[in-house]
């Protein structure tokens, strides 16, 4: 597709459940980022992939959060044992390594009841 695609756009789940959020990047973009945006806040960095490998996962809040990008294209953010504090919009962004410009998807809004 022409842009970054994220699914689902909205996800409502119950506390303790497992959630997967998917990101389809712009074709050819090797760098992929996950950010989290809470209400009234700017996006906060979670993890960065260069190709298939996680080059920097320093923003993942705890071990309930995990992300993969097995073929260097689509990425999945996985959240185990969800908590109400995980409620936020999860943003995926891709780019080429050196330009600095990131292309963002519209986000997946996660609500944990």
């Amino acid at each position: 597709g022409a842009g970054v695609s994220q699914t689902p756009s909205n996800k409502v789940t119950e506390k303790g459940k497992y959630v997967e959020l998917r990101c389809d990047p712009i074709s050819g973009h090797t760098a992929l980022y996950w950010y989290r945006q809470s209400l009234g806040q700017g996006p906060e960095f979670l993890i960065y992939f260069q190709g298939t490998g996680a080059a920097d996962d320093s923003g993942l809040p705890n071990d309930r959060f995990f992300a993969v990008r097995p073929e260097g294209s689509v990425s999945t953010l996985k959240i185990q044992r969800t908590e109400r504090g995980d409620s936020a919009v999860y943003l995926c962004a891709t780019g080429t390594r050196n330009t600095g410009e990131l292309f963002f998807g519209e986000g997946s809004r996660l609500t944990v009841l």
Binding site: Q41, Y48, A55, E101, G107
Partner: protein, 117 residues
């Protein structure tokens, strides 16, 4: 560490008047600086960036930003505001001496711009 401050939660301006959205930053090295805009129910869109070179950077939709190293600021400006400019604006920074993190950006908390007739 890198950080960004956007001191104004909201900026109101009349259509046709100039607008300024403020941003200050902190990095240990030299900065890459960015402005992004977020329209309701839309993804963040890139407006402009400063890497090196001229301190005045021009971007999309008639926006520009001025890099001021001594004041560690990167304010967003537009000579004549439009109602359609109403949106949420984010300033972001990356320390270019930060290695291994790709283009890992630190964002400010955002400034809501409201342009009225």
């Amino acid at each position: 560490a890198q950080s960004v401050a956007q001191p104004e939660d909201q900026v109101n301006v009349a259509e046709g008047n100039p607008l300024t959205v403020k941003c200050t930053y902190s990095v240990s090295g030299n900065p890459y600086l960015f402005w992004y805009v977020q329209y309701p129910n839309r993804g963040l869109q890139f407006l402009l960036k400063y890497i090196t070179g001229d301190n005045l950077v021009k971007g999309s939709y008639g926006f520009e930003a001025e890099f001021n190293k001594s004041q560690t600021s990167f304010h967003l400006k537009k000579p004549s505001a439009l109602v359609s400019d109403s949106a949420l604006y984010f300033c972001a920074v990356r320390d270019w001496e930060l290695t291994g993190g790709g283009n890992k950006l630190t964002f400010g908390t955002g400034t809501q711009l409201k342009v009225e007739l």
